[in-house]
C-alpha cells in the first residue's frame, strides 16, 4: 500500500477533536471531550459501554452535531459539514455493525467506497457511455488491489452476507480503505474475532499506518490489541475524558481502573493477557 491519498496535502495532518459536547434529550453523551490524534499514529479510544465512543465517531463523521466543540483536520473544520462532504475530505469509517449490504456482492460493497472519487451520473450510467465504462474499469482494478492487500480477493463475487463474521469485518475495513482515506476511523474492528484473526487485523492496521501514514482512530474493547498496536490511548467514561497517554500510562491509571472495575481494594492491571 502506498501513501496515495485523495487529498494531496492532507497526508501528514492530524485529527484534532476539541471540547466536544453532545446532549440527547437530557443525557450528556459527550462532555467537553478532547482527543488529539497525531498524524501517522494509531490512537485508541476506550471506555466502558455507553461512555460515548461511538458518539464521538458519529460527531467526526458528521452524523451528530455537537453543542460545543470543534473537529479539525488538515486545516478544515468538520463540525457543521454534511457527512458526505466529510467523506469527500477523506474521512473514512468502518462501522461497529458493519453496515454492509448483505445481498450485494463484496465487490459492489467495496465499490461504494469509491463513490466520492467517481463522477458518472444517471446519463453516463444509464446510457453506458464509454467514459462511465472506463471509470468503472479503473476503479474495479483498484478495488481488486485493496481486496488483495486484505486477503479478500477470492471473496469478491460472493454476496457479502454469506461471509464469516471475521471476513465481513475485513470487508468493512477494506471499504473504508477504498475511500483512499486521509483519516481512518475503525469502530471495534476485532469484535467477535478469535485470537488468530485479531492478531492478523492488528498487523493489518499497523501496515495501514506505515503505508498510508494517516491518523487512525480506533474504538476497541480488546485491551490486548490496544496494548499491542496503539501509540496513544484516550479513556472515556460518561462522556468525559478521564485519561490520555501511552498504553502503559493508562493501564496503571487509578481513575481508569475505577471506571472499569468500580472501587475495590486491589488494583489489578487492565489489559494484561
Amino acid at each position: 500500500m502506498t501513501a496515495a491519498t485523495a487529498n494531496g496535502g492532507a497526508a501528514g495532518a492530524g485529527l484534532a477533536i476539541d471540547g466536544v459536547t453532545v446532549r440527547f434529550a437530557g443525557v450528556t453523551a459527550l462532555d467537553g471531550a478532547t482527543v488529539r490524534v497525531a498524524p501517522a499514529s494509531i490512537h485508541a479510544l476506550i471506555g466502558p459501554n455507553g461512555a460515548g465512543k461511538s458518539t464521538m465517531f458519529n460527531v467526526v463523521s458528521g452524523v451528530y452535531r455537537p453543542e460545543h466543540g470543534s473537529v479539525r483536520f488538515a486545516g478544515q473544520e468538520l463540525v457543521g459539514r454534511r457527512p458526505c462532504e466529510i467523506a469527500g475530505l477523506g474521512v473514512a469509517r468502518a462501522f461497529q455493525n458493519m453496515a454492509l449490504y448483505p445481498h450485494s456482492s463484496v465487490e459492489e460493497n467495496l465499490l461504494l467506497g469509491r463513490h466520492h472519487l467517481t463522477r458518472s451520473g444517471f446519463v453516463a450510467g444509464g446510457l453506458r457511455l464509454p467514459s462511465a465504462r472506463r471509470e468503472e474499469r479503473r476503479h474495479r482494478v483498484r478495488v481488486g488491489e485493496i481486496a488483495e492487500f486484505l486477503g479478500l480477493a477470492h471473496l469478491l463475487p460472493l454476496p457479502a452476507g454469506d461471509l464469516s463474521h471475521g471476513d465481513q469485518k475485513k470487508v468493512d475495513i477494506a471499504r473504508a480503505l477504498c475511500v483512499e482515506p486521509s483519516v481512518l476511523l475503525l469502530d471495534e474492528p476485532v469484535a467477535g474475532m478469535g485470537a488468530q484473526e485479531t492478531h492478523e487485523v492488528g498487523r493489518l492496521i499497523r501496515d495501514i499506518r506505515a503505508g498510508l501514514e494517516i491518523p487512525v482512530l480506533l474504538v476497541e474493547h480488546d485491551m490486548g490489541l490496544v496494548m499491542e498496536i496503539a501509540d496513544r490511548v484516550t479513556v472515556l467514561d460518561f462522556g468525559r475524558v478521564i485519561a490520555d497517554g501511552t498504553p502503559h500510562q493508562v493501564q496503571n491509571d487509578p481513575d481508569v481502573i475505577r471506571a472499569y472495575l468500580g472501587t475495590g481494594d486491589d488494583h489489578p492491571q487492565i489489559g494484561v493477557r
Binding site: S54, V63, N97, A99
Partner: protein, 297 residues
C-alpha cells in the same frame, strides 16, 4: 360572526369524527407497527351494513351495533388470516397487503352501493338545536358528544385496564413486552377490534353529515384519516386527536369560505387536509407528536 362560530363548531365536530378514525389507525400502528390501509375499507363495510340494517327496519342503535359486529368479525379475520402470517416477516409487506385488502373491500361496497346514497338511519336528520346562542345541526352535536365519550373510554381503558397496559407496553417495546408475558397475538387482535369499532362509529357520523348518507364519496372522506394520523404523528394517540381536529377545522373552514377562496378552484376543501399535512411535515417530519427515529450507526 354567527357563520364563523357555526363553522368552528362544525369543524370541531367533523374533527372529532376524524379523530376517532385517525385513532383507530394509530392504535394499530402503535401496537403492532402495521400501517393499516384497509382502515377506510373497514369503515365502508361497517357503515354500509349499518345503513342496510337500518333500511331493513331495525332501530338505529341496533343497526349500529350490528354494523360494528360485522366489521369486528371482518377485522379479526383479516388480522388472523392475512396480517399475522406476514407480520413476522416484514411490516411493509403487511402494509402493502392491507392495500390489497382495502381494494377488495372497497370494490365490493361501491359495487353494492352503485350510485345510490344510502341513509344510515340516524335519528337526528336535519334537525337543529341551539347551543351557546348559535344554531347547529343536531348530528354535529351528537357527533361531538359520542366522540367525547368514546375517546374518554378509550384513554381510560388504555391507562387503567390490564389489556390497555399490555397494548401500551407492546407499543413501547415489542420484544420486552413479549418477554414479560404479554400475549402479542391477543394485543394485535384487540387493537384491530378497537380500530374496527372506531371506524364504524366514525363512519356512521360521516354518513350522517355532511352528506345525507353512505356513498362512494364517504370513502374519500375516510381517506382523510391518513393525513390526520400522519400529521399528528403516526405513533401518538394524542397526535391523532390533534390531527383529526386540525383536519376537520381546515376542511370545514375552507368549505365555508369557499366563495372567498374561489381562486383556489372548486372543491379545494378536499385537498386542504393534504396541504395542511405537508405543511406540518415540512416543519416536523414525523408529525406534531410523533417520535423521531434515531439512527444507530
Amino acid at each position: 360572526m354567527e357563520k364563523l362560530l357555526q363553522l368552528l363548531f362544525s369543524g370541531v365536530a367533523l374533527g372529532a369524527v376524524y379523530a376517532l378514525l385517525a385513532l383507530g389507525f394509530v392504535v394499530v400502528f402503535k401496537a403492532t407497527q402495521v400501517v393499516n390501509f384497509a382502515h377506510a375499507g373497514l369503515l365502508m363495510v361497517g357503515t354500509y351494513c349499518t345503513a342496510r340494517f337500518s333500511a331493513a327496519g331495525r332501530p338505529f342503535a341496533v343497526a349500529v351495533l350490528l354494523g360494528i359486529a360485522v366489521t369486528v368479525g371482518l377485522a379479526l379475520v383479516i388480522e388472523r388470516a392475512f396480517v399475522r402470517p406476514v407480520v413476522q416477516r416484514s411490516v411493509v409487506a403487511v402494509a402493502i397487503m392491507t392495500i390489497g385488502v382495502d381494494v377488495v373491500l372497497q370494490t365490493e361496497v361501491t359495487r353494492r352501493l352503485g350510485i345510490d346514497i344510502l341513509p344510515v338511519g340516524d335519528p337526528w336528520g336535519s334537525a337543529t338545536v341551539e347551543v351557546l346562542g348559535i344554531t347547529v345541526p343536531q348530528t354535529r352535536v351528537a357527533a361531538l358528544v359520542v366522540a367525547f365519550v368514546v375517546l374518554g373510554c378509550f384513554f381510560a381503558w388504555a391507562r387503567f385496564s390490564d389489556w390497555g397496559v399490555a397494548m401500551r407496553a407492546s407499543a413501547e417495546d415489542h420484544r420486552t413486552a413479549e418477554l414479560m408475558g404479554v400475549r402479542l397475538g391477543r394485543v394485535s387482535a384487540i387493537v384491530w377490534v378497537i380500530a374496527a369499532v372506531l371506524a364504524v362509529v366514525a363512519g356512521v357520523f360521516l354518513g350522517a353529515f355532511p352528506s345525507p348518507g353512505v356513498s362512494p364519496t364517504t370513502s374519500a372522506a375516510a381517506l382523510r384519516a391518513f393525513p390526520a394520523a400522519i400529521l399528528g404523528g403516526l405513533d401518538s394517540t394524542g397526535g391523532a386527536l390533534a390531527g383529526g381536529l386540525l383536519i376537520g377545522l381546515a376542511e370545514t373552514l375552507t368549505q365555508g369560505y369557499q366563495d372567498q377562496l374561489s381562486f383556489l378552484g372548486q372543491g379545494f376543501s378536499a385537498v386542504m387536509p393534504y396541504v395542511v399535512m405537508v405543511a406540518v411535515l415540512l416543519v416536523r417530519p414525523t408529525g406534531l407528536f410523533g417520535t423521531t427515529e434515531a439512527t444507530r450507526v
